[in-house]
Symmetry: C2
Subunit: 443 residues, 2 copies
């Protein structure tokens, strides 16, 4: 370390009892300066918390005292001194400084408030994300997102899944071409991929047996809702020699594990957000589609005929019904009509109008879609055609089904929606550092 004044501790790591006379250096932002004349308190904030710097005029070098009083809020400082117990200060200690170095002075006024005392509009916060992140509630969401991804990867690795990556630049649409962003790829037209679906299935033909991918997906939908993004993070798995029931079990166990891990490893972040998290009980309730529409129709707010899709209102009705019955927020809707699911969902052998497909729902919204897939070449080609698509565009995919494709199943979970439903976040944009939507392309 050649930087002067290297950090010795995060603010959360200092225990004056243990440290004794050892000098400490904390590095962070000037959160607050309270100048009471004879005494001046400076609160320094870092990622892990806050530290109080106490300067008593009579006891301290005049130069340091005067410099401390003039510190500009949100400037970056390194403070070196000794730590003393102080019950009223954050983390139970105060630092008596020997040196305060301003590493980078902040301009003022700030583009937005950082104390959390003033509520800022979402757009203001996203425009100044670098300031918004200095509020502990915002940071807490992204610490938890980190833990969610860590837990997901550990769970899937332990279950024998191999992490893979599929290309984001593709020549063909996954499920038809209506919602794709076109790219100029050298002298050709290409698209941003809307899902790793076709690629993870090809890997099943390659014998990788169990794969997962966590990566960006792109959808050119003109939605402007609090639940949709044009660039999102998808958690995808595909597994061979298993059916839809098997991958539903993997999914519910993964969700429960993720909740457990967040509770275990991010308790401080949950506390900052004021959230008491409970681990969902497994197995999740399974509601067949035909029962799901009965629930909706019995309520009488809308009438859905068999074969119709479930909208937001219907999802809400079913979610409340399940919650009343089980006290749980998570459940599956299974056995969807084949014609409203993508071409790769496998129809039941004894009733081809129904498919081996499922959505995994949270009380408030859809979290995941999955299915046993069609693994038979001719059936798949027919299904592509029956959805009005041209099999020629899928030749690179269909080929993988001709020479030994095993039965397989899989699902995809929206990472942002997982975090959103876990934390009760109102707008999905709050779970993305730099969200992309119809209107937002910066920062």
């Amino acid at each position: 370390m050649s930087l002067e004044n290297p950090r010795t501790h995060y603010t959360s790591q200092i225990d004056p009892e243990k440290i004794g006379d050892e000098k400490v250096t904390v590095c962070g932002w000037v959160h607050e300066v309270r100048d009471l004349g004879g005494i001046c308190f400076v609160v320094v904030r870092d990622r892990e918390g806050k530290a109080q710097i106490t300067l008593v005029k009579k006891k301290i070098d005049k130069e340091i005292f005067d410099a401390a009083r003039k510190l500009v809020r949100e400037s970056v400082v390194a403070v070196t001194g000794s730590a003393k117990p102080e019950g009223k200060a954050p983390n139970g200690y105060e630092i008596i400084p020997e040196e305060i170095v301003v590493l980078n002075e902040a301009e003022s006024p700030l583009p937005m408030d950082t104390t959390g005392k003033v509520d800022a509009e979402l757009d203001t916060r996203l425009d100044s994300r670098f300031i918004d992140l200095r509020r502990e509630k915002t940071t807490a969401i992204f610490k938890i997102r980190h833990e969610v991804l860590r837990a997901v990867r550990n769970f899937l690795s332990d279950e024998g899944f191999i992490e893979t990556s599929s290309p984001k630049v593709v020549a063909t649409a996954t499920e038809g071409g209506t919602s794709l962003f076109p790219i100029t790829y050298f002298d050709r037209e290409a698209f941003l991929n809307q899902s790793p679906q076709l690629f993870k299935q090809i890997l099943m033909s390659g014998g990788l047996d169990r794969v997962f991918e966590i990566g960006p997906i792109f959808r050119a939908e003109e939605h402007d809702t609090r639940r949709h993004l044009n660039e999102a993070t998808s958690i995808d798995i595909e597994a061979s020699f298993v059916d839809h029931f098997d991958v539903m079990e993997i999914l519910e166990n993964m969700i429960a594990y993720v909740y457990e891990q967040v509770i275990e490893n991010e308790s401080a972040s949950l506390e900052n957000l004021g959230i008491e998290l409970e681990v969902p009980k497994t197995p999740f309730m399974k509601v067949p589609y035909s029962e799901a529409i009965d629930i909706v129709n019995a309520k009488g707010e809308e009438m859905i005929e068999w074969g119709g899709d479930l909208g937001t209102v219907a999802e809400h009705t079913i979610g409340e019904h399940v919650f009343e019955e089980t006290g749980e927020s998570h459940y599956f809707i299974t056995d969807w009509p084949t014609e409203i699911k993508p071409f790769y969902a496998m129809p039941y052998e004894n009733d081809p109008l129904i498919s081996k497909s499922f959505d995994m729902m949270h009380r408030t919204m859809e979290l995941s879609s999955g299915a046993q897939r069609v693994h038979l070449h001719d059936m798949l080609k027919e299904r592509i055609e029956s959805q009005g698509l041209n099999p020629d565009g899928f030749e690179f995919y269909l080929r993988a089904f001709k020479y030994g494709m095993p039965p397989h199943s899989g699902w995809g979970v929206g990472c942002e929606r997982l975090v959103m439903t876990m934390l009760g976040v109102e707008n999905i944009r709050d779970t993305v550092l730099f969200p992309r939507d119809r209107r937002r392309l910066s920062p």
Copy 2:
């Protein structure tokens, strides 16, 4: 599990001594059928290895025997039976089948050989990746890639880094606009991001302190070499309150850890590839740029003046020199001329012509670039201008430097090059499941 004939074991998991009379079911591909008249051997292959199915005509049901003889290579089968010790068979056992179910019959001829006996051209293999992956040498690379990413994430998480994601759809080029793929983003022009650089720096202003991102990057360079891809996976970190020496230490320790973990957890894959891996010794040698050009010039094959970039030949000369001196393949080239490094590299205070930058090299190629960054707004704006770029396009980035940006440093490592140099793979396309280059956009 509702699939008939569910797998009970991978082929590598069967130990006949332990299993006794328990029935086993293996699921996989018909690797080989050897019909010797009175006896027929079928070798079934799955992700983890192979199993020999032995059918003695006199001892077995005629229907099963006849069906086994007619099995088409690379068809997908489920075989149920009992396992008996057999020293000459793979994994030391054979299965006496009671049932062989063809789950999906393969067409023939196959688009390429799967036995590894016939060498296929790279393009043929990539065109039929789903067949190529059935060769254990190919699968071994992707198992190792999984382990590399797992180790990287665990190492960085343990070092206090938070995993973040930056947008891939952006309005501005990171380092100028020459090598970007344009996207039509609704009614606007946007680009595929060539690096998370600007975003991870903004997060430093946000106080996230230490972040990493592993994700796709896109470069519209017209290279057609064995070391370049147009879509690659970048491992990026950024850390606050540390300098270039600190992040070099993190990098070399991470590389050593990744090698250790691959040796520990992927020994079978290394053996399949015929590789004996050694953990690089840390610290890596540091060769200042000025010494590096002396080494090149002393060899006399080419003359580089101070300020000139190092080409492939020069890198090779320096790499061999370091290898002769230390016996190690990894090293750093440090202290590059400021003007040939990106605008965000911090010049030394006492000699601004030199920057606090480094490349981490493997004997055979560059693996990583990093630096302490410019954290001072006015200096950064000047540096952007001095490289002929317009600061207006960087407003969303520059703003984050005005209100409290800490000193920070970071680097990016090419994931594919890391795997490539570790395994001695000749062509980078062999380390990507579905590579994208100037000519290749499918599968």
